[in-house]
């Protein structure tokens, strides 16, 4: 069972994502409405990964991952974003996100969580084009 921290400020979307991720092999066990809240919660949590909305009030999702890795290097995070431009994807992966999924692709989110839990990197369908061949292997 993959235990997930969901960092999403919009309550309705947060509920829907949690419902989507409520499966036999995964479940959202903790919620944070901001990056700051997530950082303060995390030391007390026992979660396997974080699903982070890139656009949050105050500190954004990318900055959250960067801060988080200072205390928990390599902690698996998957970015949820409304943008699918290459620059955003590359920037998120460069900062250490394990996955990048566009919000409009719910199935990719499930797939991404499973792949990351298995130790892979996961940019959702169509986002691989932003990487050179082999760039996503071996990490």
């Amino acid at each position: 069972m993959i235990s997930i921290l969901l960092v999403e400020d919009h309550p309705i979307l947060s509920q829907s994502i949690a419902a989507l991720l409520d499966n036999d092999d995964m479940s959202v066990t903790a919620f944070a409405k901001s990056a700051e809240e997530a950082l303060s919660m995390l030391p007390q949590l026992n979660v396997d990964m974080a699903v982070v909305d890139v656009s949050l009030p105050g500190m954004n999702g990318i900055e959250l991952i960067s801060h988080l890795h200072q205390t928990r290097p390599g902690f698996p995070c998957i970015i949820l974003s409304g943008h699918n431009e290459g620059a955003y994807v590359r920037r998120a992966m460069a900062i250490g996100a394990r996955g990048y999924v566009t919000k409009g692709d719910p199935i990719a989110l499930l797939e991404g969580i499973r792949r990351i839990a298995a130790g892979e990197l996961y940019p959702s369908d169509g986002l691989e084009q932003h990487f050179r061949p082999g760039e996503l292997d071996g990490k």
Partner: protein, 515 residues
Amino acid sequence: MTDEHHATEELREARENLQIALSSTALGWGVLDVQTGMLWQDERARAILGLSPDGPLTRDDFMAVVHPDDNELIQSDYERRAAGELDEPIEYRILRPDGETRIIRATGRLRRDDAGRPWQVTGTLQDVTKQRRDSAALQRLTEELEGLVAERTGALQHANTELASARDRFQKIFNANPMPKVIIDIEEGVYIDANPAFIDYMGLTREQVIGRRADELVFQQPIFKNSKELQEEFDQQGRILSVEATFEIRPGDTRTVLMSAARITFDGRGMMLAAITDITERKQAEQQVRQLASELTRAEEKERRRVSGILHDDLQQRLYAIQIELARLHGMLAKGDTEGIEALFNKVSALVPETINTARDLSIDLNPPILEGEGVAEALQWLATKMGREYGLPVRVSAAESFALADQGVRITLFHVVRELLFNVVKHAGQAEVEITLARRGDELEIEVKDDGQGFDARNKQEVTEGHGLTMSRQRLELFGGRMHIVSAPDEGTRAIIAVPLSADHDGNKPGESA
């Protein structure tokens, strides 16, 4: 020797002596025997008249050479001389056998015999043709010269009159010109003349200006951007046109002017005729417009970010949620989870109208339909209701009429200005109620927005403009010829009075004003 012989001898001697005397002159002489008509003339007289040098002559021979037009004159002269009435020289014309007309001046004296009868006329004659012609030519020349002199004198008088009239016209134009103008002696650098507009502009008396140097009149001399180049331009072309300069007319009173100058000559001295147009207010207005444009751009940017925020933070997230729920629904359909499907369907059914409401609110917020064609009173009533619903601010609107202003720009501006004031009440006034009153004051619409909140120190300009963001509201109103006045004091609430012309056009001109 007889007496007669003696007398003849004496006469001959006398004639010889006379000939000797006459030979040094151009005079000819002769004697006419009145009784016989015989004429004796010396050689010179014959030559002058073109008669044969020898042989006897009669009076008829003489009369034959007299110009036909002067026959009568000779006849009358002879008769008067014979009668002893005339002793003066006479001038007459002859027509010589060679066809040439000559002018003769003759003298003649009648002598009488012992019995007292006319006996002889003796006299001299002289060809004065050349003198007379020269004299006539001289006369003609003199007349021509006098004509010319008269003509020149007339022209000079005319020019003097014109000059006086031109000076008079110049002086009138100079004095009546509403543009401040001065005449400066270039060499001395002093004011020679200044029109009333200049005197007024400087706030001085004429006595304080005339004869003084420019640097004595103002607190700080005009500063030009390229004074060296301007001096060269003036020296070479004799003028400069609309050059911008700033100077301090009095301490703290800096003016921006456009200066034009031309070199003129006045009473033989080099002068500079300079005119100035004060553009201080225009520059300030331009600066204000630039500032307003910049603030409008910032406000637009802020509004865009606000709209983008609503689209992204709410609308978009709701749509993503719907998308996720539809994906879940799809999963449940595959599994045949009938119970789950119904619950999820109900959830999505509720999500969709909420999302539609969000989109509609945003659209109304961006462009309230109430502004399309309704009166100002209705638009403000709608705003009052909205502020009550969304921010819990009680707003009461009272208006005697609808105030359906033709200009949509004015309606929108009034709407936004009042909305800004109401937001200020929400942000700064604490617990407060608002009363909006619309009334007609002359040809203006006056809107009073009064709250009973904590108020602020309205004399503190910084607090009014920065703390309450009212500068732009004020400037937007001014664009339409309107204005806003704020009255407030701590703990005494705030009163904002807005006035706009009821029939302002887009340029903010009132009727009857030209642009």
